[in-house]
């Protein structure tokens, strides 16, 4: 077997140097980027592994591979570009693609890498600072390979079946992480000493105001006040019994720390959790990231890179990437359009109080203050926003109307999916809901000693939409596998407060 040749051939290396030069002129600031050329089955393999050369062993990657290679063989789809958030970044080109394709991909990739490096959400994937240049250390290729080694070692020791079964369960919990957690200050490992606290224990009696004269009692401490104080006391006492002391969204983290796990189980769970946090920023910035990369590939290709003979092929390819099929949102399209919209607004000075207050349609249409701040603004946006804040701040009524966006839903009366409305606020609300928490329900650990029986209690922060129940029950089974005691989830099913429970043998749901 000869070594696989994946290094970039000379003519592509020259092209890369040329493109990087242009990208720098435009102010893109990216990690060094290594391009490799892969055959389609290598590409499919790496894509199945989420862009990495190695991951931990699990059938799910095999399933991805099966799907990718099947759809490639049947000509349904082809992966053009793949890039991983690593320093240096690693990107892949498909062997045998046309020169225009390769150039397009390189331009697109540089956009992504610039985004990885500069967007604040990605700072959570930093693994430290390089002492020499102060740059971020992101050696995720190595980390993923290490995770693979850890899981393989345990597979050999305790058996592949057991490890795989555990991974299946852990993956059911993969989305139970806290997007804010990486930004919170590291919690103090040890709190202030208990005896130094002002009130070391919750009081036995409700706190009432001191009364000097007895006849004043009902005025100083009126009945409502006494009641309120009593209730507060009861709550505090309830809380004191609780662990964790505040609801915790990092369910995975909680389990890693507190579930009764064997060493191998804890390792596997930690691996899943760490990788979940690694992939989180990519889910939080799907629209922005693709929008930003598409903005730059189109700018670079049309203004610098492509020559006259290539421009038609480029346009054709670009149209394919941007196409909206079946009325679904295409993150590439939405991202790039919104990015250009922001640029245009700031170029023409369409912002600030004066603009907001202007009701005159004609004036708004022809508004141009020649501020020319567009480029600067979108660079700022790529640094400070994620999809939720990006949409929240910049998706306007004009944009929704111009781009024919709508909200759709399921109509049970005729069993089909229908356009519900084109109302701006409805559309925006729905889109934001979909993006919040990367489309996952918010679930927190409430109590690890529920009913004083060591049972795990979780709550679903119900925002109007129910959980998919059959799956929720499966997840409870997975939780029970980890926690090894009965687990309960408080949620709402069909407008009724419900406790879903799994005690190790049976599922039950009873109204609360």
């Amino acid at each position: 077997m000869f070594a696989l040749k994946t290094a970039l051939p000379a003519y592509l290396r020259d092209e890369q140097a040329r493109i990087e030069e242009f990208a720098k002129q435009f102010g893109l600031d990216y990690y060094p980027t290594v391009f490799e050329v892969l055959s389609y089955d290598q590409m499919n393999e790496i894509a199945a592994y989420g862009g990495f050369p190695t991951r931990y062993p699990h059938w799910r990657f095999g399933m991805e591979y099966e799907q990718l290679s099947k759809s490639y063989e049947y000509g349904l789809s082809k992966i053009y570009e793949m890039v991983i958030n690593n320093n240096p970044s690693i990107a892949y080109l498909l062997e045998g693609n046309s020169m225009v394709d390769q150039k397009l991909v390189m331009c697109h990739v540089l956009g992504h890498v610039d985004f990885f490096k500069n967007n604040f959400a990605f700072s959570v994937t930093d693994q430290g600072r390089n002492p020499r240049d102060g740059g971020a250390v992101r050696k995720w290729v190595d980390t993923m390979a290490n995770h693979g080694a850890v899981v393989r070692r345990w597979s050999r020791r305790v058996g592949i079946e057991r490890v795989e079964e555990l991974i299946d369960h852990c993956l059911s919990l993969e989305n139970l992480i806290d997007p804010q957690q990486p930004f919170e200050k590291a919690r103090e490992p040890v709190g202030p000493l208990a005896s130094l606290e002002e009130e070391d224990e919750t009081p036995e009696e409700p706190r009432l105001l001191r009364v000097e004269r007895e006849y004043m009692e009902s005025f100083i401490n009126p009945e409502e006040f006494v009641e309120a104080q009593k209730q507060q006391l009861a709550e505090e006492q309830e809380k004191a019994k609780r662990f964790p002391d505040a609801p915790m969204r990092d369910v995975l983290g909680f389990l890693v720390e507190h579930a009764p796990l064997d060493a191998w189980e804890r390792d596997v769970l930690s691996v899943i959790r760490r990788e979940a946090y690694y992939f989180l920023p990519q889910m939080q910035t799907k629209i922005m990231n693709e929008g930003w990369a598409s903005y730059w590939h189109s700018k670079l290709m049309t203004e610098r890179v492509a020559d006259g003979s290539e421009i038609l092929d480029y346009a054709d390819r670009n149209a394919g990437v941007m196409q909206v099929s079946g009325g679904r949102l295409n993150p590439y399209k939405l991202g790039v359009e919104l990015m250009r919209y922001v640029e245009d607004r700031w170029n023409k000075g369409k912002f600030g109080k004066e603009w907001e207050d202007c009701d005159d349609y004609a004036a708004r249409q022809s508004w141009d203050r020649r501020t020319g701040l567009g480029r600067e603004k979108i660079f700022q946006v790529r640094k400070l926003y994620t999809d939720v804040t990006f949409i929240d701040e910049f998706l306007t009524q004009d944009f929704v109307r111009d781009h024919k966006m709508y909200a759709f839903g399921y109509n049970p009366r005729n069993d089909r999916w229908e356009i519900e409305t084109r109302q701006f606020d409805e559309v925006k609300k729905k889109l934001l809901f979909q993006l919040t928490n990367a489309g996952n329900p918010v679930v927190r650990v409430l109590d690890a000693n529920h009913g004083n029986r060591g049972e795990l209690l979780l709550e679903h922060d119900h925002q109007g939409i129910d959980l998919r129940l059959d799956w929720a029950r499966e997840v409870l089974t997975a939780l029970h596998r980890i926690w090894k005691r009965p687990v309960e989830l408080h949620t709402v099913v069909g407008k009724r407060e419900t406790a879903l429970r799994f005690d190790g043998r049976d599922h039950s749901d009873k109204p609360r």
Partner: protein, 370 residues
């Protein structure tokens, strides 16, 4: 070339195979399976194995899209957000359908394993042995007509690269004697067994489309299993209402006649066919008869019993009668058969209520290993 993912991939496929088994019932009773039958391969839709998570209900969730249409207009491809390119033909529920190709042989094996079907005790020319050459490997010597060009080329290429005599600019490969590779074979000895399946079906007015579909699916699986068991297999088709005639496969499944039912007419042709063409000493004979159990008269039923007793059963390995439930049939025939042949092992009866009963029925027919 071996890839790192091979292990995960084969693991997935093993699970899918398990998946096929678990859900076999479901797939067997899906008529669509027949439509996707290729030459040798059957495409089986396999559900993507979803990992359950806390998720919102799709139908309550809805989403945001882009395009033309007024409120109330239906969407063409609803539900999940896809990655452009149309990678998954999605349904609303997010049921990704993944198709896995399974060869007919594999499928029959899976069926056999699932139903715990015994291998069949063949009879006939069990003593006659046929020789068959199979190409199974590669060796270094052999006649030039069996030279394996690709292997030879590869060996030569490897040698030249190792020696450094390979010139990328002028890539000429000259194999030496040691580079030559030849196909090698093994001679297998196989007993020959021949089988004939004679399908008879009632096409009288009372057999509806659904009933015929059931017969079609069931005969497909019986075919698949018996083909796995026998080398050379022939199938014959007879349809009948009040009169019977032999037809080809296509007509067999399509014809819809109206009128009465004389089962004996089909049995007569079947008996004649066996006597003329398939001497039982050389053939394994499997007549299958599907009907809704409504015969014209008691006399005709008695005639059938006689035909079976005297001419068909003695010649056959097994006679299978499958009764499909229909709203019009009386279902009397199966009772008559059971009454007359209660203790006859070579006659198997089975009632097929609906599509889900097909699997059970196949087990009843083939579970005896005859």
């Amino acid at each position: 070339m071996s890839l790192k993912i091979d292990q995960d991939h084969s693991r997935f496929k093993a699970i899918v195979r398990g998946k096929i088994r678990e859900n076999l019932r479901r797939y067997v009773s899906q008529g669509e399976l027949m439509g996707k039958q290729g030459k040798e391969v059957v495409s089986i839709p396999i559900p993507h194995i979803d990992i359950p998570r806390f998720r919102f209900q799709d139908k309550e969730m809805g989403g945001v899209g882009q395009g033309e249409g007024d409120p109330g207009a239906p969407l063409s491809q609803p539900g999940q957000e896809g990655e452009g390119e149309g990678r998954k033909a999605g349904q609303g529920e997010g049921d990704h359908v993944l198709e896995v190709d399974v060869t007919l042989d594999e499928l029959a094996d899976i069926l056999g394993e699932e139903l715990e079907l015994p291998n069949i005790d063949t009879r006939g020319k069990a003593t006659i042995v046929d020789k068959k050459d199979r190409y199974v490997g590669i060796r270094n010597v052999g006649p030039n007509s069996l030279r394996h060009f690709k292997r030879t080329y590869k060996t030569a290429l490897k040698r030249q690269i190792a020696l450094g005599s390979y010139d990328g600019k002028r890539p000429v490969i000259v194999p030496t004697r040691d580079d030559l590779r030849f196909r090698s074979w093994r001679t297998d000895q196989e007993p020959v067994a021949n089988a004939v399946l004679i399908y008879m079906m009632d096409v009288s007015g009372s057999m509806g489309d659904e009933q015929k579909e059931i017969v079609r699916i069931e005969s497909f699986w019986i075919d698949a299993w018996l083909r796995r068991q026998y080398e050379g297999i022939e199938t014959r088709f007879i349809i009948h209402d009040a009169v019977a005639r032999e037809v080809d496969r296509d007509t067999f499944f399509r014809t819809r006649e109206s009128g009465g039912t004389m089962i004996s007419s089909a049995y007569k042709i079947c008996a004649q066919m066996i006597e003329d063409e398939y001497p039982p000493s050389e053939w394994n004979i499997y007549p299958f008869h599907f009907s809704d159990g409504d015969n014209w008269s008691v006399d005709d039923t008695l005639l059938c019993v006689e035909l079976l007793k005297d001419r068909i059963l003695p010649a056959s390995n097994m006679f299978c009668y499958g009764q499909v439930e229909s709203p019009y049939g009386s279902g009397q025939f199966i009772k008559d058969l059971r009454e007359h042949f209660g203790d006859e092992e070579a006659l198997v009866t089975s009632e097929i209520r609906d599509r889900d009963a097909i699997i059970g029925s196949i087990r009843e027919f083939l579970g005896k290993g005859k």
